[in-house]
């Protein structure tokens, strides 16, 4: 055993201390997860956390990993980057988890990333879309969520499904990484497909009255507006678009769905389109129907909100990924799990999960290629496009 005092004083020896501590126990294998369970984006964070919980249950029922059960340790990051760092440090330093899942928003994930290098713990990123996460040269990051560029590229393949076709587009985006990133990547991808790019408007995440933005968008001669923001602003925008007679097709990006419009639909004649990574109404149309159906059935058995399924799968797939990496590594230890993550090749709710290298050579991060589907919502009913 190391002399603790010298280890601490030298600072450099610290990872060694951590490694000995985290590798020893033979109880359950701990998986650390941080999500926004409270605060501004808590709704989505709880959905993802719920998805992870049922994945752990399903895996444990099947005997766990290497004969040991999994234990999910969930830490709230309170929708705040400072708390995201505190939560990650608590998970790594106090609970000694060998692997993390997190942290929903790109900002929270980015704030945790230096700590991954510091403590040598890999993290599976389940939601964040910012390009920088996998291109900044952090070899401890493995993302199963699609970047905006991937989402845009996948959407481009489905352009032919729109009738009348999309010819000229405008953007309304929330003023953050997520919104600005989507505007940039969709402009690039669709501009390359010969579609004209019109106006680009933004809104603050707290904004409720979008009349100024909508009035401005109405002046554009585009036929389609790409809307990138959280569920609440999606709902607000779709409702206010009717009021301002926007008269354009609206496509939401990012994989979330304004479920409030199922119970309180827009007036007849107003349809909207939503890019989703999992469409819970049609589990049989998922790439691996059996996995999707297990996930959906478990979720419904808990009586959780149906709409949460569209985001909860991220947590479910992340836990499947981590469990497989631990199995491949043969031990619950950070460096070994990181190595093993490169060898993961499994079926998830969204489809195949395996990582390709991104970022500067020698320090690549892992990135998974996702599947997307487009849902049409009209009069409270959904259909797959």
């Amino acid at each position: 055993m190391l002399n603790r005092r010298t280890a601490l004083l030298s600072g450099l020896a610290m990872p060694a201390l951590l490694r000995t501590a985290s590798a020893q126990s033979d109880g359950p294998i701990r998986i650390g997860m941080t999500q926004p369970l409270t605060g501004a984006v808590a709704a989505s964070g709880n959905y993802v956390a719920n998805g992870a919980k049922i994945a752990v249950e399903v895996l444990n029922r099947a005997g766990g990993v290497m004969g040991r059960p999994l234990e999910l340790i969930l830490e709230d990051n309170k929708s705040n980057p400072r708390e995201a760092v505190a939560a990650a440090e608590k998970l790594v330093l106090r609970d000694r988890v060998p692997v993390l899942i997190g942290a929903w928003s790109s900002t929270f994930t980015l704030s945790i990333m230096p700590k991954l290098l510091e403590y040598r713990v890999p993290m599976v990123v389940e939601t964040s879309s910012a390009e920088r996460i996998t291109t900044s040269g952090n070899p401890w990051v493995f993302r199963i969520a699609p970047t905006s560029a991937m989402e845009a590229a996948a959407f481009r393949e489905l352009l032919g499904k729109f009738d009348p076709p999309i010819r000229r587009i405008d953007f309304l985006s929330v003023n953050n990484d997520f919104g600005r990133g989507a505007t940039e990547k969709f402009s690039a991808a669709l501009g390359g497909a010969g579609i004209a790019i019109g106006r680009s408007e933004t809104m603050t995440p707290e904004a409720t009255d979008l009349s100024a933005q909508l009035t401005a968008l109405k002046q554009s001669d585009g036929d389609t507006v790409f809307l990138t923001t959280g569920v609440e602003q999606q709902t607000l925008m779709l409702r206010q678009a009717v009021e301002q007679r926007l008269g354009k097709r609206i496509v939401t990006t990012g994989g979330s769905f304004p479920d409030a419009l199922l119970a309180n639909p827009l007036p007849p004649g107003n349809a909207s389109f939503h890019i989703l990574f999992y469409a819970p109404w049609f589990p049989e149309r998922a790439p691996y129907p059996q996995i999707a159906e297990t996930y959906t059935a478990e979720w419904n058995r808990k009586g959780w909100e149906f709409a949460g399924l569209t985001e909860g799968f991220r947590g479910y797939d992340a836990v499947l990924t981590v469990a497989e990496a631990i199995r491949l590594a043969g031990r619950a230890e950070g460096e070994a799990i990181r190595e093993a993550l490169w060898r993961v090749d499994i079926h998830g709710v969204n489809g195949d999960i395996r990582f390709v290298k991104e970022g500067p050579a020698g320090r690549e991060s892992g990135q998974n290629r996702p599947n997307v589907s487009i849902i049409r919502l009209a009069e409270g009913r959904t259909s797959l496009l």
């Binding site: 601490l8 030298s10 704030s111 900044s136």
Partner: protein
């Protein structure tokens, strides 16, 4: 109180990483320490000048941004085709820049806000922080807006014999924050015991009287604001390089409220008040982690704030000092907080 207990406390805190090598505890204490520095600076305004400045997160955030931008470097257009470029600087230059920028804005806010008092002053300080948050959100070329400044380097120090070393290890950062906190404490104590401090207390107690005996009220208030802002800027710089990300939310009102609660709880207008309050409210969120949801914690903080103002308006430190047997008979209760307090 003599200086001995104070230095004993500092020595105990400094020895902590050696005695109790718990990395998590150190990381919690480090971030608590950063907010204690913020609270110490706020106390100079809140406690000694009696001005309820509710825009303190503005200085904290300015420090964080100044330090982060100086260490990352920037290249922005400033109109007329001109560009302002700064190559990346060492972190200690960022630290000094943080103090300078925050202090400069402190001067600006002081000139602007001290033309009014009471409710107007409070609202102008709140709005000041709000405007800065909007600027940080929207001046994307400089601040990266909501995408936040990331990839900040950790603090580095020049150590004799070793050259410049980066402070990655928890215990090193902890000692750095402790050192800066002690320094800030001493600066504030020096000011409080100086002519400036006496003038500030005089005008806190009775502004009209202070004016009538020829104290240049605004002058002293601006000095206090500049120093207070500078220290808050230093705290912001430590924050930036400890968390290693800066986003516009550092300007949020809730950060100011956190510092206000620390000062009020410990005892405004006492030197040790912000330290005691800062330790309590810096450690509580992590002690209660998992035990109570953050909403319940904030409700408890709100209730604590109400009860303290109503029933213990001078805070914990004076209350404990009053309980202790009077060391110097004849002063104790009637002395002003300034003369009571010295480490």
């Amino acid at each position: 109180m003599s200086a001995v207990p104070g230095w004993c406390f500092v020595a105990a805190m400094a020895a902590l990483p050696l005695v109790l090598p718990d990395l998590y505890l150190l990381s919690v204490l480090t971030s608590a320490g950063i907010f204690i520095i913020g609270a110490i600076s706020l106390n100079l305004l809140l406690g000694y000048t009696g001005q309820l400045s509710l825009g303190h997160a503005a200085f904290f955030g300015l420090g964080a941004y100044a330090s982060a931008l100086a260490s990352l470097g920037f290249d922005i257009g400033i109109g007329f085709g001109l560009r302002l470029t700064l190559p990346p600087q060492p972190v200690w230059i960022g630290f000094l820049a943080a103090i300078a920028v925050a202090g400069g804005f402190g001067w600006l806010l002081g000139r602007l806000a001290f033309r009014v008092r009471g409710a107007y002053f409070v609202i102008i300080t709140i709005c000041f922080a709000q405007v800065l948050r909007m600027v940080a959100l929207n001046w994307v070329e400089l601040t990266q807006g909501p995408m936040a400044l990331i990839g900040l380097s950790p603090f580095s120090l020049w150590l004799p014999g070793q050259g410049v070393v980066e402070l990655y290890a928890k215990n090193q950062t902890y000692w750095l924050v402790l050192g800066v906190a002690v320094l800030c404490f001493l600066v504030v104590r020096q000011i409080v015991h100086s002519r400036v401090g006496r003038a500030l207390v005089a005008l806190r107690e009775n502004e009209t009287l202070a004016r009538s005996v020829g104290i240049r009220v605004t002058h002293y208030l601006v000095i206090a604001t500049v120093v207070s802002a500078g220290i808050a800027g230093a705290a912001g710089s430590l924050f930036a390089h400890n968390v290693r990300i800066v986003d516009p939310d550092v300007f949020l009102f809730i950060y100011t409220v956190t510092m206000v609660i620390m000062v009020i709880t410990g005892g405004k207008g006492t030197l040790w008040g912000p330290v005691v309050g800062g330790l309590i409210f810096g450690l509580l969120p992590d002690l209660l982690r998992g035990a109570a949801p953050p909403e319940a914690q904030w409700i408890a903080y709100g209730v604590a704030m109400i009860l303290l103002v109503m029933f213990l308006p001078r805070g914990i430190v004076p209350a404990i000092a009053a309980l202790m047997p009077a060391r110097r008979p004849g002063r104790g209760a009637t002395a002003s907080p300034v003369s009571q307090e010295a480490p």
